[in-house]
């Protein structure tokens, strides 16, 4: 780990640099190292889509090694959707290929005068003109680049969504076939890429990864791989994919339905994992070095939704499905495929459409606004038609491309109360009224309404214990239990390291902090204990907090949409529930060593080796 490419887009200059050992030790790689760059180099208050923002791609130190499912790359920048720390990450195979091309990460700075794409190959890098790629969707972009450079190149790119600065545009990778693709979906990293006029990164190479104790590392990595391969976790996720979650969330009464007006979707059985298996599933697809294969390839063989591609993931089933009141699996799946092609985040897209439907239902949006479109819950054709409009910012799509918070600010009429976002980031498909601690997680997650910082939905919604932390027993999910909020902290800390090393969070169910610490230790050749692992994770979570505080975030931002705080769930197991956030927030801050305003104490910063940040936030 350590060779970083710096690409000044304004002048087309490419250089290499090497973070010092101390920096690598403190921040490891991935989102950790990238965030340190962001804080150091990007001033407070800049325009996320302007030249001062930087777009940082970073792989993890374990990437390309045989450790199970550690091939994720992170993209970090100030988010145009939230205005705070932006990060997205994705697996598939491209992270591996960037690293094999000889680079651990890429920092894009400035804005190019014309569309370009970056080629990295065997330790060399160049910018190429992308004029002919601009306007292409993700699979055509990938195909065109591979025709130019050769089949062995793998590509991360933006689609038309990123070009058009859709606020929640994704960076896509592995779009080898039509509608395929893994998404670094969240926070609009694709829009930042589009603003810089970078269409793609194409990578290829055979670089070897330096491992301090190669034999020990290899044996241990193989064993850990085997453990995951031998787990009950694998058996479920391989069979049902992430759609596994749908039944489990529905039965708890927490499946957001018709823009979160209720938590039970009457059509859930038509869009669950079993329904996928019985109808459209064609193949189960693993990411690099992962034994699980939770990815799905699907095909709709006939009819108006005829198509094939990658997905559907649980979050698409929820956002395009229950959130929009749609039980047509084929339409949901095609909407997902279209997001893959346009390079658009499915969570934000589906939420925004669901929000628009409720606005339409309430007369806040009218046919006049929509150019004649009726935005009715349950209209399966609509989701398929509207995603391209968002991608192209065409008609009403231009408004929807702004995300729910911006829309609500524009539409007024108290619509912000049911704009289902935190800090501007649309929420995932788990209603916190059915598992209170998830509300705390969304209120405090560094990138906004995000379920992946802690993945506390595992224990809270799926009754899933974790090897990663000592105690994942959240107790009664319908109670606010301040004493249990340390579980959120512990999961965030542990998974904070995952975002730095490029790990998939499903691995946290099966492998422990000891397991990961030992792998990291053998890779780097220095002592790294489970305590170091946890401390590093805590450092990384505080690092993102520092960034956000500098941007002006306060305790008041650590909150939830009014619907979750004030509107009782109308039916089901969580009937009558709202989230009482403050007691949880107080306790969580205390476990974190943050003051009542959510600011890390000086002592905590010193303890974590973040002394340099004292001047920034005090």
């Amino acid at each position: 780990m350590g060779k970083i490419l710096r690409v000044n887009l304004a002048i087309g200059k490419i250089s290499e640099e090497f973070p010092d050992d101390e920096t690598l030790k403190l921040y490891l790689g991935g989102a950790g190292l990238a965030t340190k760059y962001l804080i150091d180099e990007v001033p407070k208050g800049i325009d996320p889509l302007g030249p001062e923002n930087k777009l940082i791609f970073m792989t993890g130190p374990l990437t390309v090694t045989p450790s199970p499912s550690t091939g994720r790359y992170s993209v970090v920048a100030k988010s145009p959707l939230t205005g705070i720390w932006g990060q997205a990450n994705s697996a598939g195979f491209w992270g591996r290929d960037l690293k094999r091309s000889g680079f651990d990460g890429v920092i894009f700075e400035g804005i190019s005068s014309k569309p370009v794409y970056l080629v990295t190959e065997d330790g060399k890098a160049e910018l190429r003109d992308a004029g002919h790629l601009w306007g292409k969707n993700t699979s055509d972009t990938t195909k065109a680049i591979r025709e130019e450079l050769g089949e062995k190149f793998n590509v991360a790119c933006i689609g038309i969504g990123g070009e058009n600065l859709v606020k929640y545009a994704a960076v896509m990778n592995d779009c080898d076939e039509p509608n395929w693709g893994r998404a670094a979906g969240r926070c609009g990293m694709g829009a930042v890429m589009g603003s810089k006029k970078v269409k793609a990164i194409a990578s290829k190479g055979n670089a070897k990864i330096e491992v301090a104790n190669p034999d020990e590392y290899k044996a241990e990595a193989k064993q850990r791989y085997d453990w995951v391969n031998q787990s009950l976790l694998k058996m479920t996720l391989e069979v049902f994919g992430t759609a596994t979650m749908l039944d489990l969330v529905q039965v708890k009464g927490g499946l957001p339905t018709r823009n979160w007006q209720t938590g039970i979707f009457e059509g859930a059985e038509k869009i669950n994992g079993e329904a996928i298996n019985e109808t459209i599933l064609t193949k189960r697809k693993p990411c690099f070095a992962c034994p699980i294969a939770c990815g799905r390839l699907s095909e709709i063989k006939e009819g108006k939704y005829k198509s094939k591609g990658e997905g559907p993931e649980f979050e698409a089933l929820g956002t395009f499905g229950s959130m929009c009141g749609i039980d047509n699996l084929e339409a949901i799946t095609l909407a997902h495929f279209i997001c893959n092609e346009y390079g658009i985040d499915i969570i934000s897209a589906g939420n925004t459409i669901g929000f628009s439907m409720e606005c339409y239902e309430k007369g806040i949006l009218t046919k006049e606004d929509t150019g004649g479109l009726e935005l009715n819950f349950g209209d399966a054709d609509l989701i398929v038609d509207i995603v391209p409009k968002i991608g192209k910012r065409e008609g009403i799509g231009d408004l929807l491309a702004e995300g729910t918070r911006n829309m609500a600010n524009k539409l007024g009429n108290d619509s912000i109360k049911f704009a289902m976002q935190v800090k501007g980031l649309e929420l995932p498909c788990y209603d916190s009224r059915a598992a209170k601690i998830t509300g705390l997680a969304y209120a405090t997650a560094p990138r906004g309404g995000d379920h992946m910082a802690a993945w506390i939905e595992g224990p809270a919604f799926l009754s899933m214990p974790f090897m990663l932390i000592e105690d994942a027993d959240v107790g009664d999910p319908l109670q606010e239990i301040p004493e249990k909020t340390y579980i959120l902290k512990d999961l965030e800390d542990g998974f904070g390291v995952f975002d730095a090393i490029g790990g998939c969070k499903f691995m946290g169910i099966v492998l422990s902090a000891d397991d990961w610490a030992s792998l990291i230790s053998k890779l780097f050749g220095y002592d790294f204990t489970a305590a170091d692992f946890r401390k590093t994770g805590e450092r990384l979570i505080n690092l993102t907090r520092i960034y956000n505080l500098r941007e002006g975030l306060t305790r008041a931002d650590d909150t939830l949409p009014a619907r979750l705080l004030e509107e009782p769930m109308p039916e089901g197991p969580a009937k009558g529930q709202t989230v009482n956030l403050d007691p949880l927030l107080d306790a969580y801050y205390e476990f974190r060593g943050w003051d009542k305003n959510g600011i890390p104490t000086k002592e905590k910063l010193k303890e974590l080796g973040l002394d340099w940040a004292i001047d920034i936030i005090y």
Copy 2:
């Protein structure tokens, strides 16, 4: 909880009695309470098949309540197979029905002069003549009794195996249809029942269970049920049943094959969960109050193995399958069905046949001994033919009915080294050379070579975390790690309570000590914390130790077959491994508060409220 039926078989006298509150508080019910009776009433050194042994059926305090999967009953007696503490337990529905008939348990004492069966109904009980039932298999027995008494009676009974004192005969229940049945399989409780000439217990009734805080209890039980119903655990076990384990154990190189000569079975894919689903599975069947439905109903529609019934469970796939070198799923399944009908434990039966095959291979058993039968590994017809011989003690079956330890003692030639048993109880289908801590578990489990005391196979073989205990991370399963043996203690303690309350151990993955303690507290109406839960479990484990020490057990008995200690695994992920038991044993004893000889210290006994046992074991 508290109404116990005492049946003196010698004189046909039936009486009722009520344990005092203090006893119920200390030992709860199920195997806990039954073991206290056994220690109090059955003297040291008696013949397990003689009149002095007692056979105790006991339900748990949570049975008939809506708490998830707490309908198991225990059968406790001195074991004719092991000569120490004998216990078996089973779910299905009969435990519920015994309790609804007005009784929490039944103590059989003495020996009846002729076959009888017990009827319990609406708080009344009577012994009836069973002359016409003697010689019948389990489903015919059940059918005949229901014809006599009415369809609503449910039956626990023995088959021909129990009548013929097969040392590992089972007590069966819910044999409503041909070849159906749940088994209280282990330790030969069916033989004890046969020795007493008790063919069956038939039960029916509508007794209500007294609950101290009924509304709170009901709400909490329902919520816990929902949590299990919403878990990843359920999704796997419902789809694949206990056969889920087979792939997971095989891939770790620990699937006992050809009498444990290796840990990889080349035919595993022909007999795994997927193979069952694709060929013979007809229905998934839950036990009382369980959301999971891991039970299987299967049918072989044609050919020489044509049959239908309940199963196959993982342990049959392993013992009749890999242990006998047989990859014919239909033959394995039919052998399982026949065990159900004869009332024979599948684990001991399959192991014994596998052992016989190796003896035959080595010339220790010859055609002369077998009456012309060839006992070859891989002979699918043989397992189907030989189980009835065991049940009838016909020909070579008479020898096999004694179990592996007795056989080895008789056959000599060092065959004891590969008689795969601990303390006389045949081992389950997990080879400890592939997960060392399981070797410690089998060496120390109260009933001998038993995987259910701790179910440490969960974390050790399946990389499965548990909500029940704080830390289930066993580390590298191929290492002997003395510091990790507290995990075995913690699991034994937690699951010790499960055996007392009638709980299914799969629930320990999803529900915590807090969850169970709270349910118990609301049921009984007194304070019962998670600490009380753990302390109670520890008391119950020590209780069984007291029984075994009184019978003369020493540290030397806490060991494994020589094959596991001395013969390196020949291939696969565990290649070259043996189990180095002593360091694990030392550490475990210390965590337990037992001395170097495995004897609980006086301090420990006092701490657990077992002062009365000091005189017994010192």
